[in-house]
Symmetry: C2
Subunit: 334 residues, 2 copies
């Protein structure tokens, strides 16, 4: 398998990306390859001093880079030789089998959708994350690819995210919940009400009905479906709250057991680790004809390495073939 | 001031409501009154054994009660003598000056909108909460009253929630942020983009532009505006996450300092207190011609008592008069 990594995106680029690629070499099979895409000289500089990387790592030159805050579509237009554009182009031409970027999410998702096109039967790609909870992992889809969702899009996110979670976490029949503002059927907006009907008509899906924000942690569903605007708010709120609450709690603890601040920080970190985006290896852009893993902008080398693990697993489990198969049997149009 | 309390709503009713009313007596002026609305006999039974309540507390009989899971509109129709319907009717007829309920939120909000009507200039009432954060209180509006928002509704929520936060927390000029999926102007859905233009045209508002979910805790804004569907998800997600994370952290801590479980639980509780809905005294239904405070369904006596504090403060600060004044100067139609 050949895996492309955008070496110029992300807050820690290229150090995190290069180190992540080096760490990932230990996971690879004999004929696997990692292709680092970006400025040839800068990447070589970061590889220098490491032994034996030539066996698994290659460099593909890209002369431009898209900044984290650039407008995605405009940046892709004005920087045709950016690392993101080159990375996705290599994937389109099947020079590589998967691509990973911690760079500008909007640009990466847009390039993925424009160049790779959609899998057969897919109406709109969506981004899925897996979040750890005290009652097991929960997949949330979409977290930002699609802010003008139709019911059929949401229904397909339910199917695609179920296939993804099955492959990632060995959950054979994930229970699907539809994010709303009350569990009763009458609660929600029109989009939710129409989507629920689609789910209820498909006997293949263990559909638990409407769920609420708090149900992300209550264990009632394994997959939570929502439109991209809501999902993106959820994702970023979680990040902010976990950080804010951890800080507040360690501060309070310091007052009670003042001698043990170092131990307390350790506990904070250890609890935090379960909620650390670096642990779950990035979010796939589900529904494109390829494997695109979007890493958090602040990913470190572990995040990049885990993303390599994820793409290998998704390829091994034939996620995309499975998605095409599952979609071929459900409702086709809304 | 005469304050009505729904004695039959909420998970802890009528015990929490009656005890909250008794506790609140200490806060009241000579001629203030609390009217407990609900089953006469049940309320009297819970008041029995307490001294001196007759001075401040009266009972208004209502023979029916709306359950937490009943469909709001249907329940209001089929139970005209429910405590919620009676409570709001008393307020409409100005027998009382404010009403508080921890019962069925949808029924209370619907009754408030139908019976009290709107303040002059208000297009749609919205529910505002104040949430404590490490960087100070932040008001979020709307958290569930309006799931089909137009830009003018959101703009008015910004004005009304600012007036509310000023009154509640002594913040003279609250900075207003518009919840979106990226801080750049180009990010968001059509509703967000059109709303932003309205805010940008009003020089009276310290408008900080788009904010993200994580900004609830970053201190960039004092008021965060969103449509009711998104706000309700945010509200319930916070509740679930705070609880889930606290549990996880106390568990981790137990492993490191096993001798101090009791102390650790105390710390959990003490941090948790800041995020406890009982502390902030309920959420006002902003924009109705009256004072309606929606308490959390799980409110205990402190929650009810704090709601009494809140309505007295909002009345003293002439919140509704201020809202009418502020709205009379902004854009009138979208």
């Amino acid at each position: 398998m050949r895996i492309g990594i955008d070496a110029m995106g992300g807050d820690g680029a290229p150090r995190a990306e290069v180190q992540g690629a080096l760490d990932a070499c230990a996971l690879l099979n004999e004929d696997d390859k990692i292709v680092l895409v970006g400025d040839r000289d800068i990447i070589a500089e970061h590889l220098a001093g490491n032994d034996g990387w030539e066996k698994h790592i290659a460099i593909h030159h890209a002369s431009q880079a898209i900044g984290m805050n650039e407008s995605p579509v405009e940046a892709l237009r004005s920087k045709p030789d950016s690392s993101i554009a080159q990375l996705v182009r290599l994937h389109k031409e099947r020079e590589i089998d998967a691509c990973i970027s911690a760079g500008n999410t909007g640009a990466f998702a847009a390039a993925g959708q424009m160049l790779l096109r959609r899998l057969k039967g897919v109406h709109r790609p969506g981004i899925a994350i897996v979040t750890p909870t005290p009652r097991g992992p929960v997949a949330v889809c979409d977290v930002g690819a699609n802010v003008s969702c139709r019911p059929l899009h949401l229904y397909q996110y339910g199917l695609m995210a179920s296939v993804y979670l099955s492959a990632m976490c060995d959950i054979p029949e994930p229970r699907v919940g539809l994010l709303s503002i009350g569990t009763e059927d009458a609660k929600g907006n029109d989009l939710v009400k129409m989507t629920r009907e689609l789910f209820q008509c498909d006997p293949r899906i263990p559909f638990v009905g409407n769920v609420e924000g708090r149900d992300l942690f209550s264990g009632v569903c394994d997959v939570m479906i929502c439109e991209g605007f809501v999902g993106n708010v959820v994702l970023k709120l979680m990040e902010g709250l976990v950080e804010g609450l951890m800080t507040a709690m360690v501060k309070e603890l310091g007052k009670i057991v003042p001698g043990q601040i170092a131990a307390l920080k350790q506990v904070g970190l250890s609890t935090f680790a379960k909620y650390d985006f670096n642990e779950y290896g990035g979010a796939p852009l589900l529904g494109v004809n390829g494997l695109c893993i979007i890493c958090h902008g602040a990913s470190d080398h572990r995040g990049i390495k885990n993303a390599v693990t994820v793409v290998r697993e998704l390829a091994k489990r034939h996620m995309n073939e499975r998605i095409v198969e599952v979609l071929s049997q459900g409702p086709k149009d809304s």
